[in-house]
């Protein structure tokens, strides 16, 4: 088998799984991740449906396995700059962005982070709380090395400070380095760039950005996380009060010809999980999920919904609310809706009505990752109408892109949950192995 190696772009759970499988097959893997740590979206989740496993607990061993595998070279805080060539012989240029930290010396102790005076937007916590200019994205980061964000660092922008350098006992801070360009020769490329949440500000009727107590699903996830900015206490933004009633609005931007026509697939389960967690943390808390179709199609998903209804005080209301207003005094959002299934509304006559709650969670559409278009262009890939990586032969080769030798797994090629992403990741490993094995009598086009 050609061991020119494989490039995996994206260090979320799909990229990690693909890297592990490929490495176990004896191939040299270069795992390129844009942020300072692998882990992706799964690291931001508190629990995962339908098992309610602690997300980080099941992710961390995989991150460590990946990083410590002798066949995996982790290239975090790096980006794919350029690609040329063809299947079996791609030439890739990877830009390693400067961390300003010598990773061979940094022990991840975190002393520098404590002393850094500069606080900025925290991407991992989606803007709730702040991080420092020198930072570890989250406590279980792999690799456990700090990074200096050049745009926020006082020294790099204004020539002041350098407290981190003074504090570091290992002498790991180095303000000198230029970025590094790596030239790699690989036989195949796997894309696993994942997703971004859609910004619901555009849906003005829902008041995101205007009404404080209207938040997104990902923000809610960080609030309820034990390792999040409020240590798992569900404090609503306006006054820190714990909500007694929460409304979850599904399909915000999804299944909507004005924004994204497709279904983001995981939000029904995601909302159910969040509602269950809320009630678990605060018995007596009631949740209302405003849905169009409850898409719980996976293994043990229907049973999860039944539990939500029967044990966790979750009420499903079939409706796509028309607008959300706010009670200026209390900060309580008011959801205006028309319950299409009369029975669920508890009202014999179908009418437009309103429900006052303490917190609204918008389950927004999930879209392919922001710079996905750029990467697709560099690789010569086609995108489908949803903006996802187009698959040439959906039935027989569901992880093959339109370019031979390049494969795609996980959300970047279509909305899907963790098990489906992990399956696709392993599937790309099989396809890569196949494509790198000299063909004997296989008929490519039957």
């Amino acid at each position: 088998m050609n061991n020119g190696g494989v490039l995996v772009v994206g260090g979320g759970i799909a990229g990690i799984q693909a890297a592990i499988d490929l490495a176990n097959m004896g191939l040299q893997v270069y795992l390129v991740e844009r942020t300072p740590s692998i882990g992706g979206r799964m690291a931001q989740l508190d629990k995962t449906f339908p098992t309610n496993d602690c997300s980080m607990c099941i992710l961390a061993p995989k991150m460590i396995e990946c990083a410590s595998h002798q066949n995996v070279q982790l290239l975090t805080y790096s980006e794919v700059e350029d690609v040329s060539g063809g299947p079996g012989h791609f030439s890739v240029t990877v830009r390693k962005k400067p961390r300003y930290v010598d990773v061979t010396r940094c022990t991840g102790c975190g002393d520098c982070v404590e002393k850094c005076p500069r606080r900025v937007y925290d991407e991992f916590n989606v803007g709730l709380g702040k991080r420092k200019a020198i930072y570890l994205p989250f406590p279980q980061a792999v690799p456990r090395k700090v990074t200096i964000d050049a745009e926020s660092c006082l020294y790099l922008t204004k020539g002041r400070c350098r407290v981190c350098e003074e504090t570091c006992q290992a002498g790991a801070i180095n303000f000198e380095p230029q970025e590094e360009m790596l030239e790699l020769e690989v036989g195949a490329i796997v894309l696993a760039t994942g997703f971004d949440p859609f910004d619901p500000t555009a849906l003005e009727e829902y008041g995101y950005g205007r009404i404080e107590n209207v938040i997104t699903g990902l923000e809610y996830e960080r609030l309820i996380s034990a390792s999040g900015p409020t240590e798992g206490h569900l404090k609503r933004p306006s006054d820190g009060k714990v909500p007694e009633r929460i409304a979850f609005i599904q399909c915000v931007g999804s299944r909507d010809v004005n924004y994204k026509a497709y279904c983001s697939s995981v939000c029904c389960m995601h909302a159910t999980k969040e509602a269950i967690l809320a009630n678990e943390h605060y018995p007596g808390l009631k949740s209302f999920i405003f849905y169009t179709d409850m898409r719980a199609v996976g293994k043990q998903f229907q049973e999860y919904l039944i539990r939500a209804r029967e044990e966790y005080d979750v009420t499903y209301v079939r409706s796509r609310p028309g607008k959300i207003t706010v009670d200026e005094e209390t900060g309580n959002p008011i959801v205006w809706y028309d319950a299409t299934v009369v029975k669920e509304a508890g009202d014999p006559v179908r009418r437009v009505t309103s429900m006052e709650v303490d917190l609204v969670v918008l389950c927004q559409a999930l879209v392919p990752h922001g710079f996905h278009v750029e990467i697709a262009e560099k690789l010569g890939l086609t995108l489908d109408e949803g903006g996802f990586i187009a698959i040439q032969d959906k039935l027989l080769r569901p992880v093959d892109t339109t370019v031979p030798g390049i494969f795609a797994c996980g959300f970047c090629q279509g909305p899907q949950d963790i098990p489906d992403s992990v399956v696709q990741a392993s599937a790309t490993a099989a396809r890569v192995a196949e494509s790198l094995t000299p063909l004997k009598e296989e008929l490519e086009h039957a």
């Binding site: 022990t107 299934v341 029975k343 959906k394 039935l395 963790i418 696709q424 004997k440 008929l443």
Partner: protein, 568 residues
């Protein structure tokens, strides 16, 4: 027998440990411990300097045990272990003591107590180290062949994926042809291609591949063994054939539910399932004027709570097909949520609506009623959104049913020592991160045998299973970390407790030199230690975590608890 010579390396970790714990004091103390012949402190034990020092001292001081007191074994144990190996010391003679995460970092305001605690932890670590024994990691050869059970889309894909990597595959199919469930489907979703166009070439490739041995009209009769070394008996046309394989993939699929007793299915001739619809009407029968499809028949009900996942897709596919044959046909789909998840299915749903397919939502508590004598003529449904009852004219009623587990899943599950879930489908090792593996190593599952999956999903799973199944074969060896359980036959009374508690079925009772005793299959053992704690005689022990080692840690901790005299 050489005397135990322990070397202790205590790390400052810059300021992290050294700023709280008085490291030199801990080193001094370590020197006083029994069997410790050498102790030093390092600024960073994990640095090149620190590691060199370990290697050097192993040689100079003839150390045969090494204890490092620093951070956490969860990140750094492999590093120190390989450092020991480089100096010629078996890596299982290394012990890690955590005095950072568990000590310095959590007692920052109490350096005196933190230092005392660090000393005690080192004392415990040294005590355990003295009882460590060199271990060899178990290696078992992997027979370079795989077995795929089931010749449908999943089975064929997995077989080809393996064969294309040069791996020999035995593909066992109980029927006379390859193809499985998809043989009864005429057009495929989402590409709307004719099945024959897609599946026949696939069948041809599988049949022609030199690495695939096809066993048609065959079934698995018996199976034994473990990863790398499975012995399987296949019955073909009455004859038994024995095969040896390294890994096994279960791709036996599932069956469409025949809804006997529901919606007058067995009673009326024009009430059919979706597959029956395909078979009859897509092959030339006269098309009806008005078709009513009822979804969730036998699914998402108290007796069968799961969702069939792609039955909505099937109904939509067939509804679109009907409309394309004749736009005048009335097509109604009665549903309780339209499971059109993702991009393609949602798009199809929208298209169906644009073509005039009417979707009617009904309630579980007021299911539709099929009306007519001798033939179905109409379907009465309580339209949940309109809040009133409708009678929909029907020349044909199509019942959308889920796939259900095959009846012989249980037999196969027992043969392969893998579990079934509550619904009767095969149960994977972990729903989230190991969806196509079993807890039993070397056996994998894909396609609807695991849970109803459409073709792209089944095919992805098949590729994934092939990837997993190819890895042990590619490595040629299965290597197991030497923390497995081992039974001392002389002390074993064959009570069987261990066999019962082992979550992986890795233990069996067998006749040995000293009569019947428990025997651990190291290749399957995961090193949890459940069996050890369940053993009444202490015959079962765990390498690296045996009773003596753990008890002496307890003893070491307690030893100076009294007024200086020895423990009772």
């Amino acid at each position: 027998m050489p005397r135990t010579r322990v070397g202790v390396f205590v790390c400052h970790c810059g300021n992290n440990i050294g700023g709280v714990v008085r490291v030199p004091e801990v080193v001094e103390y370590a020197r006083t411990l029994p069997n410790v012949v050498y102790a030093e402190d390092n600024l960073y034990t994990c640095s090149e300097e620190g590691l060199s020092s370990i290697r050097e001292q192993i040689r100079e001081q003839a150390l045969n045990r090494v204890v490092v007191a620093s951070c956490t074994p969860r990140t750094h144990e492999p590093l120190f272990q390989s450092t020991c190996e480089e100096a010629g010391l078996n890596k299982y003679l290394f012990e890690f003591v955590n005095i950072r995460e568990h000590c310095a970092w959590v007692h920052m305001h109490d350096p005196a107590r933190a230092t005392e605690k660090a000393k005690e932890l080192v004392r415990m670590g040294v005590a355990k180290a003295c009882y460590l024994e060199p271990q060899e990691e178990f290696e078992s050869e992997v027979f370079p062949a795989a077995l795929v059970i089931g010749g449908g889309m999943a089975g064929m894909t997995a077989a080809l994926a393996l064969a294309n990597q040069g791996i020999k595959v035995h593909l066992v199919e109980r029927g006379p042809h390859l193809g499985g469930l998809v043989r009864t489907v005429q057009t495929l979703f989402p590409t709307e291609q004719a099945t024959a166009e897609v599946v026949h070439p696939l069948i041809a490739r599988v049949s022609a591949h030199s690495e695939i041995t096809l066993h048609l009209e065959s079934e698995v009769e018996d199976a034994a063994g473990f990863i790398g070394d499975f012995d399987v008996s296949i019955r073909s046309n009455g004859e038994l054939q024995d095969l040896k394989v390294g890994t096994i993939i279960v791709a036996t699929g599932a069956e469409e539910l025949r809804p006997v007793g529901l919606y007058r299915y067995s009673e009326l001739p024009n009430v059919v399932t979706q597959l029956e619809f395909e078979e009859k009407f897509k092959t030339g029968a006269e098309l009806p004027d008005s078709v009513v499809m009822i979804n969730c028949v036998g699914a998402r009900v108290p007796e069968r709570t799961y969702c069939g996942r792609f039955c909505c897709s099937t109904a939509i596919k067939n509804a679109i097909w009907l409309k394309e044959q004749n736009p005048q046909t009335n097509v109604y789909i009665l549903h309780r949520d339209v499971m059109a998840y993702g991009v393609d299915i949602e798009k199809f749903y929208r298209r169906a609506m644009e073509l005039g397919v009417r979707f009617v939502r009904y309630d579980l508590e007021s299911p539709p009623v099929v009306l007519g004598e001798g033939r179905a003529e109409a379907v009465r449904v309580q339209h949940q959104l309109m809040g009133r009852e409708l009678d929909l004219p029907a020349d044909l009623v199509v019942l959308t049913t889920p796939l259900v587990p095959r009846e012989d899943n249980e037999r196969l599950a027992q043969l392969l020592k893998v579990p079934l879930g509550g619904e009767g489908f095969f149960l994977e090792a972990h729903l989230k991160l190991r969806p196509i593996e079993f807890a039993t190593d070397g056996v994998y599952v894909c396609g609807s045998a695991r849970y109803p999956s459409n073709i792209p999903e089944s095919v992805s799973q098949a590729y994934a299973a092939a990837a997993k199944a190819s890895i042990p074969i590619g490595e040629g060896l299965v290597r197991v970390a030497a923390i497995t359980a081992v039974c001392d036959e002389r002390a074993c009374s064959a009570c069987g407790n261990c066999v019962e508690v082992c979550p992986f079925g890795a233990i069996e009772l067998r006749e040995g030199r000293f009569g019947k005793s428990a025997y651990v299959n190291t290749a399957q053992c995961k090193g949890c230690g459940c069996c050890v704690a369940a053993c009444p005689s202490g015959a079962m022990q765990q390498r690296g975590f045996d009773d003596r080692q753990l008890l002496c840690m307890i003893g070491a901790l307690a030893e100076e608890m009294t007024d200086g005299t020895a423990a009772p």
